[in-house]
Amino acid sequence: MAAKVKQLPSRGGTPAEKVYLIEIFKGMAITLKHFLRNLWDNSNLYVRHYPEVQPDIPARWRGRHRLLTHPDGTPKCVACFMCQTNCPADCIMIKAGTRIDGVTEKMPVSFTIDLAECIYCGYCVEACPEDAIRMDTGIYAFTSSNREEMKIGMTEMLSLKGGFPEEEYQKGLEGE
């Protein structure tokens, strides 16, 4: 949904305007006019009826993180700690171990992102040499009533799917 922009001329120079009180009443009249109009019909409001109406988000939108898997379902992540090293918010916590599924030698034993601390900068995605982490789930809302639940673990991140078709995501990367 494109935003509607209305340019208003600058005002406030005439003597009548400098008295203020007249302008205040004029303004209140406008408010009253809008109130009465929207009372019968609110289809012209400049607001989104969230959450009934969800916003369109582009493929490059940095939403919640997910960990990618190889076609055979094994995680792409090799626990190189590039994302943790680069993270300016220090919200990624990885524990590495010996890999047991035979893909390479190393894999994360645990991979936790504290979403309460994450600033959604996308540096982890840029740093990843294996294309193992992306922020393309399209999930932008994440709430919880306690801090512990804001930490998401490896199984959860591996189970998330990308929110966009692959071509659209790759197109978003062009020029980087």
Binding site: M82, T85, M93
Partner: protein, 522 residues
């Protein structure tokens, strides 16, 4: 004093020590010549060809720097086009079959291939034929894991095991792109210094199974310390890190160069002593079985010392000079007796002629210097008479059995200052009046004297989540006149004149102070 000579590097005159090869001589003045196979402890091999430098008007005009002695008036060329081309091409050769698996390689961050690529190569690979694949994750024994693909065949590990340990487990087999390091069938690395090959390896071909995947090298904080595993006092680097929400723990110990003491190496047992620093530590201070603040314990103990007729202090032979002096000062003030009885720290016939010593105490020479008694008869006699016994971190369970300890202190009030549980035996520890959890050597600063009478400083960089006092603070809490490490150091300097010229212990030179036999009390 070594003789100095003058030579020219890229046309600029520099003064270097004579009698050294170009790599070592120029390294001292801050000029780096890239190399893989040369190591000062193993000598020049000249197989990697990375250190080739140009000699203006020389015959031959290009020489390996590791095999060339620095000579007066030599004109060394490091930035000539042909030398740069050589360095670039050698690097390109090394990378032909290199797997470039830096993301899973433990050496990443301290790898010569990474450093030199950024400095001397920096180009894309021109290879289009498939790479030669070799064995990965090969267990070499002795806690060493080998990756044949990453190997640059410099032979440092092979030469170490032949020249230094003289066990010769490894060899280079085959030639060209099939060249690889192998152990002889059925005879993996099996000696007490085997893990040094991990430090020697300039790339990630040899990694330690113990440290494998624990931590990336760039996260580690480093503290220059002294190994407390035996009386040799090898210089080490303590690599530790405090991960978010977790405790500060040590991930590995690495040897630090000190030609006077350990050269470039340390033993495998010493390397593993870091585990004692991390695991199973005493955490709480108790008074009559209940957890209480330190101040209460000190006040109670101080009262008991005052009322007692005979007080015995037992110090650890691994405690630093400052700590020993602080306890001594406390003993002088309260009229107590100090003992450093620690016969159990000596493991007969365990030492060798290289680095490992029989005596597993880090500062026995320091105990002698300060004149602290350590004989068994002295300790036994005093223990029988004493009605208050205070242990300052001595692991008495090494010297005496549980029954012996129980018999000695059956009717004695005991304050046990210890780093780990079980140092007075499990039975005795249930009966102690108070116990204080102490800091261990990786957590405090100090000076220890090794078996050769070399006083060396060490810095404790580990900051545990649980606040513990060290022995100086414990002694101060009990009323010692030495209220801090600085005051204790002043006491040490009074007793050992050879150390008097150094203002603080940090002013001790990095290679340590060799005390003469006279000063060391021999």
């Amino acid at each position: 004093m070594t003789e100095m000579i003058k030579l020219f590097v890229n046309g600029e005159e520099v003064e270097v020590e004579s009698g050294k090869n170009l790599i070592d001589a120029l390294e001292k003045v801050g000029i780096e010549i890239p190399h893989f196979c040369y190591h000062p402890a193993l000598g020049a091999d000249g197989n990697c060809r990375m250190c080739l430098v140009g000699i203006e008007d020389g015959r031959p005009p290009v020489v390996p720097a590791c095999k060339t002695l620095a000579k007066e008036g030599m004109k060394v060329l490091l930035d000539a086009d042909n030398i740069k081309k050589i360095q670039h091409d050698v690097m390109e050769l090394e990378f032909i079959n290199h797997p470039t698996d830096c993301p899973i390689c433990d050496q990443a961050g301290e790898c010569k291939l990474q450093d030199y690529y950024m400095k001397y190569e920096g180009t894309e690979s021109r290879m289009w034929v498939p790479q030669v694949t070799k064995r990965k994750m090969q267990d070499f024994g002795g806690g060493v894991i080998h990756d044949q693909e990453r190997c640059v065949a410099c032979g440092r590990c092979v030469r170490f095991l032949r020249q230094i340990t003289r066990t010769g487990e490894l060899g280079l087999v085959n030639r060209g792109d099939d060249c690889r390091v192998e152990f002889f069938p059925g005879r993996p690395i099996n000696n007490r210094y085997g893990l040094n090959v991990v430090d020697l390896c300039p790339v990630g071909a040899l990694t330690s199974a113990d440290f494998r995947f624990k931590q990336r090298a760039w996260f580690l904080k480093r503290a220059e310390s002294i190994c407390h595993g035996c009386s040799k006092g090898c210089n080490i680097m303590v690599d530790h890190n405090k991960e978010k929400y977790e405790d500060d723990i040590i991930y590995r110990l690495r040897p630090r160069q000190n030609e006077q003491v350990n050269g470039w190496f340390m033993c495998d047992e010493g390397r593993m002593t870091y585990k004692l620093e991390n695991d199973n530590r005493l955490e709480e201070c108790t008074l009559a079985g209940a957890v209480r603040p330190l101040a209460d314990i000190f006040a109670d103990a101080e009262r008991r010392i005052e009322r007692a007729t005979k007080v015995l202090f037992l110090v650890s032979p691994s405690a630093s000079l400052e700590q020993l002096a602080a306890v001594q000062a406390l003993a002088e003030k309260t009229g107590a007796t100090v003992s450093a009885f620690s016969d159990g720290y000596i493991v007969k016939d365990d030492g060798d002629d290289f680095l490992i010593k029989d005596d597993k105490a880090a500062n026995r020479a320091g105990v002698d210097l300060l004149g602290i008694a350590k004989s068994r008869t002295h300790f036994d006699n005093m223990a029988k008479e004493a009605d208050v016994f205070i242990n300052f971190g001595n692991d008495l369970s090494r010297s005496l059995s549980e029954e012996q300890i129980g018999r000695l202190f059956s009717d004695t009030w005991v304050l046990n200052g210890a780093t780990h549980p079980g140092q007075l035996g499990a039975v005795m520890e249930k009966k102690v009046g108070s116990s204080i959890a102490l800091r261990s050597w990786s957590e405090y600063h100090g000076v220890v004297v090794n078996c050769d009478g070399i006083a060396q400083k060490f810095v404790g960089g580990v900051m545990k989540n649980v606040e513990r006092p060290d022995i100086v603070e414990m002694a101060a809490g009990l009323g010692s006149p030495a209220t801090g490490t600085a005051a204790a150091w002043a006491l040490v300097q009074k007793k050992i004149p050879a150390l008097a010229e150094f203002g603080g212990f940090l002013e001790l030179p990095a290679e340590g102070v060799k005390l003469t036999d006279n000063e060391a009390g021999k």
